[in-house]
């Protein structure tokens, strides 16, 4: 029998290493890797629309070539701030092989941990305007009316934003992986 999950909260900040939110940090594992630099931001809110200032977001992504851990260490962690916001600096991932011969659109997986989450939530950030979004095998499983909750918008060149709504109106689509 697998080990049960328990909430990470409320004091998970003992494993908060703020530099991990910058995947391109000087002296870090991706220092000097070429690619399109982006920032991924978002605000985490609860069922009342109140911000969650005590969440932890982890990301997992492929490198610009679409490969995992082949020259790009695609892991990051970021605490939400007092406004419930997270911010990662990274490289835009390339398309990733999907089931069969399919190709997945570029995406970043997010895992959300917080007080009150008995186990972490998983979702994905896709990039608005990406042609492959139309044929992505995972997006295709998401009801069309809710697909938008997985699509990050480009707020300014290179700055992508995807808000996470844990509950209620426009609730983020979470993935059962």
């Amino acid at each position: 029998m697998i080990t049960a999950s328990q909430t990470s909260g409320p004091f998970w900040h003992l494993i908060d290493f703020p530099e991990w939110a910058d995947l391109l940090r000087a002296g870090g594992p991706n220092d000097g890797v070429a690619g399109s630099r982006i920032t991924l931001t978002g605000t985490v809110t609860d069922g009342d629309g109140a911000v969650c200032p005590d969440a932890m977001i982890e990301i997992w992504q492929a490198g610009p070539d679409g490969a995992y851990e082949a020259g790009f260490h695609g892991f990051g962690r970021c605490a939400t701030d007092a406004q419930g916001r997270f911010r990662f600096a990274t490289l835009k991932p390339g398309p990733v092989p999907g089931p069969g011969n399919s190709l997945q659109a570029p995406h970043i997986t997010l895992a959300i941990f917080a007080r009150g989450l008995m186990h972490h939530l998983t979702t994905r950030a896709y990039f608005a305007g990406e042609a492959l979004n139309e044929t992505d095998p995972i997006l295709a499983l998401v009801p069309e009316g809710r697909r938008g909750t997985l699509i990050a918008r480009e707020a300014s060149p290179g700055h992508w934003n995807l808000d996470i709504r844990l509950q209620g109106d426009h609730e983020t689509v979470f993935l059962d992986i």
Binding site: I2, A4, Q6, I15, W60, E69, G98, G116, I177
Partner: protein, 230 residues
């Protein structure tokens, strides 16, 4: 290769009425089941060179932390009993007085300058790991009147696939607070008892520290790739 689905009856529900913080944070909608792709079957490669181990929380900057020194050892396997080597475990906990080394912990209990409350350890080729720490204290958490968390240590595991990612808590045998704790009691019976460490004389080091054993089990791999969402 895909991982087995999480079996029913193991994980606590996201919506747990007795735990106030879940009320506005649990999703209303069921999660969308997806087949595992490379994204879920691969995982970050953590190494002790890039993520240095820190195996002993019982001392900090060369000075001994206050409290009862203990050793916690265990083995990480998957549900098929296969040892899981190279798993990175992150460990965090309150000090002997039940206080976390954080500004946001306002519990009126003393801080210990010689206790950092965080450790990191990798499993060896057989899935084994071991850390030294001090037994943490219980702390109040305001979930309900006179609410106290049982003595616990937090663990975060990074396995060989992102779908194996696990954050859990370890408890101590015989703690009367276990019966009163919504977070522990939220785990279905049969699964929750496995979150309680066992006193182990083989882990105990003579004239040094009591030993506890805490084994953890991650999801196993399916024999064949999961082509369709179940």
């Amino acid at each position: 290769m895909s991982f087995r689905p999480i079996p029913p009856g193991v994980f606590p529900p996201m919506d747990l009425p007795s735990y106030g913080s879940t009320h506005k944070r649990h999703p209303d909608q069921a999660p969308v089941r997806i087949p595992h792709t490379l994204t879920e079957t691969s995982a970050p490669r953590f190494t002790s060179s890039a993520y240095p181990e820190h195996l002993d929380m019982s001392r900090h900057n060369g000075r001994e932390a206050m409290g009862e020194r203990i050793i916690i050892a265990g083995r990480v396997t998957d549900e098929d009993g296969r040892p899981q080597p190279g798993v990175m475990l992150e460990v965090w906990q309150a000090n002997a007085a039940g206080r976390y080394q954080l500004d946001r912990d306002q519990h009126d209990a003393p801080l210990d300058p010689n206790f950092s409350g965080q450790a990191r350890v990798f499993t060896d080729a057989d899935g084994n790991w071991s850390i030294t720490t001090i037994r943490p204290g219980a702390y109040p958490w305001r979930n309900h009147h006179n609410a106290w968390r049982p003595v616990h240590v937090h663990f975060g595991l990074h396995g060989a696939g992102f779908a194996q990612r696990l954050v859990t808590q370890m408890y101590f045998p015989g703690d009367p607070l276990l019966a009163l704790d919504p977070i522990y009691q939220g785990v279905p019976e049969g699964a929750r008892e496995r979150l309680v460490a066992k006193f182990d004389l083989d882990v105990t080091r003579p004239e040094y520290a009591l030993g506890y054993r805490f084994d953890m089990v991650l999801r196993g791999r399916l024999a064949t790739p999961m082509e369709n969402p179940a």
